[in-house]
């Protein structure tokens, strides 16, 4: 019965075997995510919304509301406010508009194409070698081929994609609601399955996983707000229409590393070139603003927000982003860092648990106690089978 000095004195650093396991498990999870894309994207959106709404919901619970009512109220209020804000942003657009949305989209696309053609012509005028290469006609031909075959080759895919993804994305609000309502219950459910010997460490593990995900998504939100504000300010200064809405869309697109930034830049340039068709300087200015914001983002905002959230070595981060892109495409790029953060916490904690001889010994001892307790009356029955039954004559 003498207390044994413990072998656990604070968290230990993970070794190369654990780290190999962490990277292997992350890659495996990325492959699984690729196969379950329809669930992965709504889950990301649901998690972002969950961390936004968790604080207000907890305040309502403290005020005496049930978890169910509080989750329902905060979800309903959030989506009502978001819908109103989106409607206001669409209504207050001061850019060029047509009667129908199809015509407006066509107007902006034409503006983008005109900008590319003007730029090609300008380049040919400045550099005669490009004129000799017939750069404008090559680009024009590429555009014509793409637009001619667009309906035949791509429209079907786009329509099927929208039909597939809209119901899937509608899962996000439901996931948010159930995460808010049952998150604590689910955590308790998981903790209940852990043996007593490992219980405190398991609680710590669950807490750390939650904190890692929370830090990542909160960092992502802060980054989005910063990006939106700076980009909106820059676009407003050079005179692009709806700068706040454009800034927000570009900042959300930037959640996907590399690809999202390019898509955001293309969007901004299209709007700028349509706003001022005769003034290509506005579109160039928009590109300049975008590049400036990306530089600020990479060297200032990201280290201040996301960089602090995961505590992963920068080299590992970059390599894993490439691995994520190769294994699971765009979604891999987007998910590799939070997945790595969570798997890292789980791997390091499990490594500590598995390699702790004292905890394993305590678990074996507890199991032996339970086995003994469960079989105590069975042992007596076996003894009775050998001995004469006291009540046999009655």
């Amino acid at each position: 019965m003498s207390p044994v000095p413990s072998v656990m004195h604070g968290p230990e650093r993970a070794g190369p075997v654990v780290w190999t396991g962490i990277i292997g498990a992350t890659c495996l999870l990325l492959l699984v995510v690729k196969q379950m894309l329809w669930l992965a994207l709504p889950f990301i959106l649901g998690a972002v919304l969950y961390y936004i709404l968790l604080g207000p919901m907890q305040r309502m619970v403290r005020a005496g509301f049930s978890r169910n009512a509080a989750a329902l109220w905060v979800c309903a209020l959030f989506f009502a406010i978001a819908s109103l804000a989106l409607a206001a942003a669409m209504t207050w657009s001061d850019g060029p508009e047509e009667d129908s949305w199809e015509a407006t989209i066509s107007l902006y696309l034409d503006g983008g194409v005109a900008f590319v053609r003007n730029s090609m012509a300008l380049l040919e005028a400045k550099f005669p070698i490009l004129a000799e290469m017939r750069l404008t006609s090559i680009v024009n031909m590429a555009f014509t081929n793409y637009t001619n075959d667009f309906a035949q080759n791509h429209l079907g895919e786009i329509v099927v994609g929208i039909v597939t993804w809209v119901p899937s994305l509608l899962l996000a609000p439901f996931l948010t609601f159930f995460l808010l309502r049952d998150g604590v219950r689910f955590k308790k459910f998981l903790a209940r399955a852990v043996p007593n010997a490992y219980f405190e460490r398991a609680l710590y593990l669950l807490h750390e996983v939650d904190q890692t995900a929370r830090r990542y998504f909160e960092g992502l939100l802060k980054l989005t707000v910063l990006d939106t504000l700076v980009l909106a300010l820059g676009l407003w200064v050079i005179g692009v229409s709806s700068p706040l809405l454009l800034g927000l869309i570009s900042a959300v697109l930037a959640w996907v590393p590399f690809v999202g930034s390019i898509a955001g830049c293309v969007l901004v340039v299209i709007v700028a070139s349509t706003d001022a068709p005769g003034n290509p300087l506005m579109a160039y200015g928009a590109i300049g603003v975008f590049v400036l914001v990306r530089l600020l983002d990479d060297f200032l905002f990201m280290p201040l927000t996301l960089g602090r959230s995961l505590h992963i070595h920068p080299l590992v981060t970059v390599l894993m982003i490439f691995a994520g892109g190769i294994l699971a495409g765009v979604v891999g790029l987007m998910l590799v860092l939070p997945l790595l953060g969570v798997v890292m916490v789980i791997g390091e904690t499990l490594g500590t648990l598995v390699t702790s001889p004292r905890l394993r010994a305590r678990h074996r001892y507890a199991r032996a106690l339970r086995t003994r307790q469960a079989s105590v009356d069975l042992d007596i029955a076996r003894e009775r089978r050998g001995a004469p039954t006291p009540n046999a004559g009655k």
């Binding site: 000095p5 413990s6 005496g64 209940r192 507890a366």
Partner: protein, 179 residues
Amino acid sequence: MRSRIIKQTTHRTTLEHYVIFRFLKPPRMSPRLHRLKSSSLFAALTPLELKIVDGLLHERRYLKDEIVFDEGEEGQALYLLMSGRVRISRLHEGMTQVVAELEPGGFFGDLALLDNSPRNAQARAMEPCEVAVFFRADFLGLMETDAVLGYKISLALARHIGLRLREWMGTGRPQLEAL
């Protein structure tokens, strides 16, 4: 006077019928909440606060002789004894020294709520027991989001540690270093 009371009661009942006013109604105290309130740690909490704390507690069951935590282990949680008995002991100059034997309503491992220093004693079940576990991160989260609730528990904790200090100074029992 009587008719006024009836009128007030009727008015309250009418209000409670509306979902929006349901939060005004104090939650009913279940037997479990009564047991929690009987502990000195949660004695000052209102029924609503008890319900919030209860939502954060984890339940564990231990068999006779099973170890709850070891001396030297990193402490992550406080344990509130709901039933059964627990012995707190520590190794002193190669000998096992019994620090305390706790009854239902008692709590142990409380210093883990304040920091993550190693446990100073071992806790072992003396008979089959049921404990409620209060995880440190949940307590710290509660302090941040609900200062009043956090202050009530902290005050109870400070009083408990002060009591142990006075007992130790009066009797020379080694309770101060333990837990």
